[in-house]
Symmetry: C3
Subunit: 268 residues, 3 copies
């Protein structure tokens, strides 16, 4: 059933070519734009207050990525979230480096608080840092020392799902998609993927493309990127090749390959 949802969503992205408005970091602007194009969506990279209101009106989703943050960009991000709310559009937040500085932790929480239709996409440590003390209190009651990093992150994600009314995608060796309806585990992807900068940022951008066509759990993007990434890695001598083979694999991915390769398990 999940598999069919993913295929339907991929077909919808390719048919509708949704506009995805990205306020993202300098490092990955080029490859996230290329990732969106390769999957069939239409990227817009814009950040000026003088045009965000106009552009959000005709965009299908907003993706906020805090990878290269400063006070000027924070105000742009907050304004963009207001506009997304005004037009009832989903907001994907990628809290890059959340926990590595108080600026990032606090900004991530401000944005998450502000967005009315929120999807969070981060790695385990970012999700744990974003949840912070609230999730820790809960984890402790279960005996935190017994938890491995993934379990701790899923616990944090459950807290975030309740606290913000959002979906959470934790990406890593195993991806976890955490929603009100429980968790889905995804075991696609490849160990070489973390050697390409911004792979998580690409996942967040694709999550925006799928949200724009109504798939707001984050599952379809994680599945498509995981499968395309493992196809690409199998053809690659190193991370340079992987970066380009990934775009080719996203562009060429068909339903049959996706079905054959998907490694999904649900627990609700």
């Amino acid at each position: 059933m999940n598999t069919q949802t993913i295929i339907t969503a991929l077909n919808a992205v390719r048919a509708q070519k949704p506009l995805v408005l990205n306020i993202t970091n300098y490092v990955v602007m080029n490859n996230t734009a290329n990732g969106l194009l390769a999957v069939g969506a239409s990227p817009i990279m814009a950040h000026s207050r003088d045009e965000l209101a106009e552009m959000m009106a005709f965009s299908g989703a907003l993706v906020i990525n805090i990878g290269t943050l400063d006070s000027v960009w924070i105000e742009r991000m907050m304004f963009a979230v207001e506009q997304a709310n005004r037009h009832h559009k989903p907001v994907v937040l990628d809290p890059v480096g959340c926990g590595a500085s108080s600026l990032r932790t606090e900004t991530s929480r401000r944005i998450a608080e502000a967005a009315e239709q929120l999807i969070l996409r981060g790695n385990a440590s970012e999700i744990i840092a974003l949840a912070g003390a609230g999730a820790n209190a809960q984890a402790k009651s279960k005996g935190v020392d017994a938890l491995d990093a993934s379990e701790a992150a899923v616990g944090a994600a459950r807290y975030l799902v309740r606290h913000y009314g959002c979906s959470v995608v934790i990406s890593g060796e195993t991806d976890f998609i955490v929603t009100d309806n429980g968790e889905i585990r995804l075991n696609n992807g490849h160990a070489m993927m973390p050697f390409v900068t911004g792979m998580g940022c690409t996942l967040s951008a694709l999550t925006g493309a799928f949200a724009a066509v109504g798939e707001t759990t984050g599952l379809a993007a994680a599945a498509v990127l995981g499968v395309a990434g493992e196809i690409a890695a199998e053809q690659s001598a190193g991370p340079g090749s992987l970066q380009l083979n990934l775009l080719d694999a996203l562009y060429c991915l068909d339903a049959e390959t996706l079905m054959q390769r998907l490694k999904l398990t649900s627990s609700s």
Copy 2:
């Protein structure tokens, strides 16, 4: 005759390695710099008022691209155009997203108005939006409903040529080079090219390189990128490969291949 002009211009770029000063968007800075290097030119990316005057003095052309615009960048762009005028250097304007926000439409017009030696490079909708009401009035008198998108864009370009005293390159499935001397149609390129972000931005950057050696119509850049793009696409499984094969093809392109592949038609 046009073919010989293009080959002469390509040889001149490779021999003179002109410095091209780019004020462009964050998304494409890397690949436009690589595009300029691959064709034989020398990119400079600089934007500070504290050095633009000095740098414009020894650069051969200025390329302004409004892809990621804000009020700070607009002032830099206007100052750079002043410096280009002062040194009698050509200015290529890429009005990215013109029509998608009033900020972009107005800024494009300000820059076009200011530049004394102007070449415009955009897609059909950007050129139509830039021309705006002036061109519409003219088109209506010819019965606008009868026009397809390309004809509307060529009509808009003719208006812009007269209004700004510029050349206009409309890129798309067919490229149109519109000047005082009429139009040239170019049917090179490949359907996969729009799946790579910033392909039009690369064309604008190359247009600057050719303008710096005296080819100020925009034809040579469109021809070289169109032919290199189709060679690259024929070797590519998807847009990731295309992006890198394009740089290889620009670097390797020789006069014979260019002559064999060019699909030009003039109407003056």
Copy 3:
């Protein structure tokens, strides 16, 4: 002996995965991050005063690259250097375009003056411009007309080594590593490398990775990039392929290949 130092340093980078904090230019942020990942290090790109103090505390080195400079970025750079000094971390300065504008020359000198543990990495003209009149005075006393560009650059580097108490890497067809202990010449690399934008910036970033594990001369980074670059170029039809093959070669480089290919000569 130098060869063993280089291999030891490469193994240390791969084992320790040092965090390298980069304040660099918009053009190369993506490929320098990918270069750092491919060699085994961990890139951080951050620039806000609100988090640089925190982040410098747990980073192993600071890399400052002035490629796209303005007054806002200069203050960020100076603040980051203060933080690096406070935590006794090495600072790599890449004075991109030093000599092409007075802004760049003056800013390079301000940063070089401020950094307590400094490594400079530039091309011959940047190093000569950075040294300026001080080195010229010395060169003149030896008869400057007799010097070729490399010799002039090495003379400038010797002046900088004394003046700032730093190491200097001059990259070019032959790389020169100039320290208190004399010079090392490195004859690796490939003539196609300058056709990829930011190759020198990648070298500066790698220099930061090696400095973070205690190799503060700049030699190991120049050797690793030179050898990986020539392996990559031999497999590449043009600069597009070279950019990605370089990342693959950095990722795959082993001690045996490095030893076989290294072309080092010392003169102390």
